[in-house]
Subunit: 464 residues, 2 copies
C-alpha cells in the first residue's frame, strides 16, 4: 500500500547522486582494514566519519559503540508514529586488506570511476551497501514529504566483520535493548546478477572443530613397527572417509534429524534461476560437481547441510620420504548447517561419532571453534514481501530468491534479538569481494538507494 510516487524518488536520487558518490569515495579513501593492527586508527576514523555523516543525513541519534576490538557505529531515527515497526539495518565499515602490489589496476584506497563502476576496496563489501541507506532514507522523506521515516530506523555498522566479528555477539547481547526491533535487514550480501534481482532468504549455520589424534608418544620407525600398531594418520583419514556415505550424504548418525527440507515451490524457484553449471564451476575453479545425491548444485550449497575437511596434517611433509608412523594427526572439520539444525546438538553427534570410530590405542581430543546458527526467512513473511515489492519497483523486474551458503553475524541478530533477518544487497558476483579490483556497479548501487526509499514506506504500512 505504497503512496510514494516512484518518479519523485528517482528525481531526488538524480539530483543528489553526485554528492552521494563523492561522499562514498571520501569514506572509501579511509583504509579501515580491521585485520591489520597498523590500521586500527583508520578503522576508528572510518567509524567517526560514518557517525558524522549519519548525523548530517538527519539521524537524531548517532553513537560510537566501543568493543574490545574495533568500534561499531549505531544510529537511530525514530518514526514518531507509535504504530510504526522498527527496522534494524546491519552492515560493516571495515574492509579486507588490499595493496596495489596485490595486482590492483589502481590504488585500492583511491576510488576510481570507470565504465559505470566504482573501483575501491570496500566499494561493494560493504561500505557501498551501507552507504546506499543514507541517500535512501532521504529520498524516502523527500518523496513522501515526511520529516521522519515511516519506520523506526536503526543502523548498526560493525568494524570487525572482516576479522570474523569476534566481539559482535557480545555487543549485540549487551545492547539488545537499544537494538530491539521487529526485523533486521542485513545489507552485506549480493544478488544473482545485474539483470536478475534476487533476495537472499537464509544463510547456513556453521560448527567448526579440530580433532587431534594421538598414537605413539613420538614418531616411530615404520620398518620396526609398521603394520602392528595403529597409525594416527590412517585413523584421521578413516574418520574423514567415514564422514560421508556413498551418496555424499553426511554419515554422522542423527545429523539430518530435524533438517527443514526445501519445499517443492522453493526447489522450483531455484531451478528457474538462470544457472550455468559450467560457469559456476569456473567460479569455483573446480573441475567437476560432486555433492549430496538427489540435489542440484544450488540446493547443495544453499539449502543442504554439509561436512568439509578444511585441513588435515600428520607426519612428514618435507621433500622425499620418511619411514615413520607419526605420533599425531590433526583434522580441521567444518559443518554447514541449515534451518532445523542446532549447532550444539551437531557438536554432540560429531563427538559421539568420532569416539565410536577410533580404535584402541588412539587417544583423541575434539575442540570446538565456535558455532553459528543457520537462519531462514519463510517466503511468505510480510517483511520479506515488502523487500521483494520494493526491489521489484526499483529494478522493474520480477524478484527471485536465493540463499547464501556461507554463515555470518546475521545469525547473532536473529538469535540474540529474536527477530527475522532479511537480506538486502545489490552486489553481483563479479564485484570481487576480498579480491583485487573490487568494484560496485553504480546503476545497482542507485537501485539499492531506490529500493530502500520504497522499502521504508512499504514496511511502515505493513503489519509485522
Amino acid at each position: 500500500m505504497s503512496t510514494t510516487p516512484d518518479s519523485a524518488v528517482r528525481a531526488y536520487i538524480d539530483v543528489n547522486r553526485e554528492a552521494f558518490l563523492g561522499d562514498l569515495a571520501e569514506w572509501l579513501r579511509i583504509p579501515s582494514v580491521s585485520a591489520d593492527p597498523a590500521r586500527n586508527a583508520d578503522v576508528r576514523r572510518s567509524a567517526e566519519w560514518l557517525a558524522a555523516k549519519l548525523a548530517g543525513t538527519g539521524f537524531p541519534v548517532t553513537e560510537i559503540w566501543e568493543t574490545p576490538g574495533a568500534p561499531a557505529v549505531f544510529a537511530e531515527w525514530p518514526s514518531g508514529d507509535p504504530r510504526a515497526p522498527t527496522v534494524l539495518v546491519y552492515g560493516h565499515h571495515d574492509v579486507q586488506p588490499a595493496d596495489i602490489g596485490d595486482g590492483w589496476d589502481t590504488d585500492p584506497f583511491e576510488p576510481v570511476t570507470r565504465d559505470g563502476r566504482l573501483y575501491a576496496r570496500g566499494a561493494a563489501d560493504d561500505k557501498g551497501q551501507v552507504f546506499f541507506h543514507t541517500l535512501g532514507v532521504r529520498a524516502h522523506l523527500a518523496a513522501t514529504g515526511r520529516s521522519a521515516p515511516a519506520v523506526n530506523l536503526k543502523l548498526l555498522v560493525e568494524g570487525e566483520e572482516e576479522s570474523g566479528s569476534p566481539n559482535f555477539p557480545a555487543l549485540v547481547a549487551a545492547r539488545a535493548g537499544r537494538l530491539a526491533c521487529d526485523v533486521a535487514i542485513v545489507s552485506d550480501t549480493g544478488m544473482w546478477a545485474a539483470d536478475t534481482p534476487t533476495v537472499c532468504t537464509g544463510m547456513r549455520g556453521l560448527a567448526e572443530c579440530q580433532i587431534d589424534l594421538f598414537g605413539p608418544d613420538q614418531d616411530i620407525h615404520s620398518g620396526s613397527f609398521g603394520g602392528a600398531v595403529p597409525n594416527p594418520a590412517t585413523e584421521a583419514a578413516r574418520l574423514v572417509a567415514a564422514l560421508h556415505d556413498a551418496d555424499s550424504r553426511v554419515a554422522v548418525p542423527g545429523f539430518y534429524d530435524g533438517v527443514t527440507d526445501l519445499a517443492p515451490r522453493e526447489r522450483e524457484l531455484f531451478a528457474e534461476l538462470p544457472f550455468d553449471e559450467n560457469e559456476w564451476l569456473r567460479t569455483a575453479v573446480s573441475y567437476a560437481p560432486l555433492g549430496e545425491a538427489g540435489h542440484s548444485t544450488l540446493e547443495r550449497i544453499w539449502a543442504r547441510p554439509t561436512a568439509e575437511v578444511n585441513g588435515i596434517y600428520s607426519g612428514y611433509q618435507g621433500p622425499g620420504g620418511k619411514t615413520i608412523i607419526p605420533a599425531e594427526a590433526h583434522l580441521k572439520l567444518s559443518f554447514r548447517l541449515v534451518a532445523g539444525q542446532d549447532p550444539e546438538k551437531v557438536q554432540r553427534l560429531v563427538a559421539d561419532w568420532a569416539e565410536d570410530h577410533l580404535p584402541d590405542g588412539i587417544r583423541h581430543r575434539i575442540t570446538w571453534l565456535g558455532a553459528t546458527r543457520p537462519c531462514l526467512t519463510p517466503l511468505d513473511h510480510p517483511a520479506l514481501q515488502s523487500v521483494v515489492r520494493s526491489m521489484a519497483r526499483a529494478f522493474g523486474r520480477e524478484v527471485r530468491f536465493t540463499r547464501e551458503g556461507g554463515s555470518g553475524p546475521a545469525a547473532d541478530l536473529q538469535d540474540v534479538l529474536d527477530v527475522p533477518v532479511l537480506f538486502l544487497g545489490i552486489s553481483v558476483p563479479s564485484d570481487g569481494w576480498h579480491s583485487v579490483n573490487e568494484k560496485v556497479e553504480l546503476d545497482l548501487l542507485l537501485k539499492g538507494v531506490e529500493t530502500t526509499a520504497y522499502l521504508w514506506g512499504d514496511l511502515g504500512s505493513s503489519a509485522l
Copy 2:
C-alpha cells in the same frame, strides 16, 4: 665339520682383548657423521683409519673406494685354497649425528667403558660390529694355525649408510666383479636379547611414494562451494581409508599375489621367542597392537607386507579454523614388502588402485621415491646353518631366528651380486641405535669375535 679348538680361540681373544678395545675406541673417536657436511673430512679419516687397520690385521688388499659422496673401504684376504668359498662382509663406518647437548651422559665421541659396556656413537651401529671381524679373523688363523682364512674373505664398509646409502647400489654395480662372492654377511643388525642369540633371516623391502591430489585451482570458500565440488583433502583421506580392509589387510588389488607365506615351522619358531607384547608396546611407545588379522605382532612386523601413511597434509594447519576447501592434498605412503613381492609390480598396482579410487574433478600425480627389494634366507641354507652353528658355539646356547622389519642395503648386495644375504649381528635392543648413550655390551662384542673365528672355518668346509 669344524676343526678349531674352541679353547684356542677363546685364549687368543683373551690375550688380545685390551688392544682390540683400545683400537676400537680410537676409531670411535673419529666423528664420522655422514649427514653433516662439516664432518666430511672425519668420514674420510674414518675410512683411512679403517683401511690402515685392516692392512695391519693382515688383509693383503685394502682399498679406499671413492663414491660421489663418502668413501667406502674394501679389503680382501684370499684363502689360497681354490675350493674355498668367497664371503663378503658388509658394514658401514659412518655414524648418526650425536652431540653431548642431546642428552648424552658423556661425550659421544670420547668412548667410556662402564659396567661392561662401551659407550660411544657408533659403538653398536656399526663400528663395533664391523670391528669384531678384525680380531675374529686373527683368532681363526691363530687357532687353526693357518696363514690365510679358510674362506676368501672380502669386506665392504660403506660411508653413507646413515644418509640412506645414496651411492651404494651404483658402487656395488660398478664393482660387482671385485665383490663377487658366494654369500654376503651383513654385520649391521642385532639379536633378540643378550641371553637369546638369534640370526636374522630376512629384511622387508620398501616402496615409497608421494601422491599429490589437485582439486580447485586455489583454496575456495567452504560456505560458497562446500558440499558441491570434490575436496582433495577428503579424497586423500578416502584413499588412505581404502588402503586397508576391515581385517587390516592391504586392500590394493593384487598386493599379496606371490607373497611367500610363513611356513608352519617358522611360525612356531617365532612363537617360541620370549616375546612380551606389553614390553614391546612400550618400545613402540604405543597403546595397543593393531595389524593384519590372523597374524601375531612378530609375524606382522617381520614377515607380512604392510602399507603405512608416513605423512598427509592439506589445507589449513594454523590455530583455530579456516573455512576453505583446500586446493591440494598430499600423501606420503610406504609399503613394506616381503619375499615374493616385486617393488615395481607393487608400484603399478598402487598406481592403478589410486586411479580407480579418485572421482572426477580430482587430478593426481604419483611419484615413486625409490624401492628396495625384500630379502629372505631359507632356514635350511647351508651358509645360514654355518652361522647358526658358529654362534651356538660362541654363546653356548640354542640360536633362534628373527627377521628385520626394516629395509636396507642388504637387498642391493642380494640383487646386484645375486647371492644369498645372511645377517650376523650381536647388538641388543637396548644399545640405543640413533639415540643418546649408544653402547655395545663388551661380552657380546667378544662373542661376535668368537662367532666369526668359528664361522670362517665352518664355512670353509661347507658346500656353498
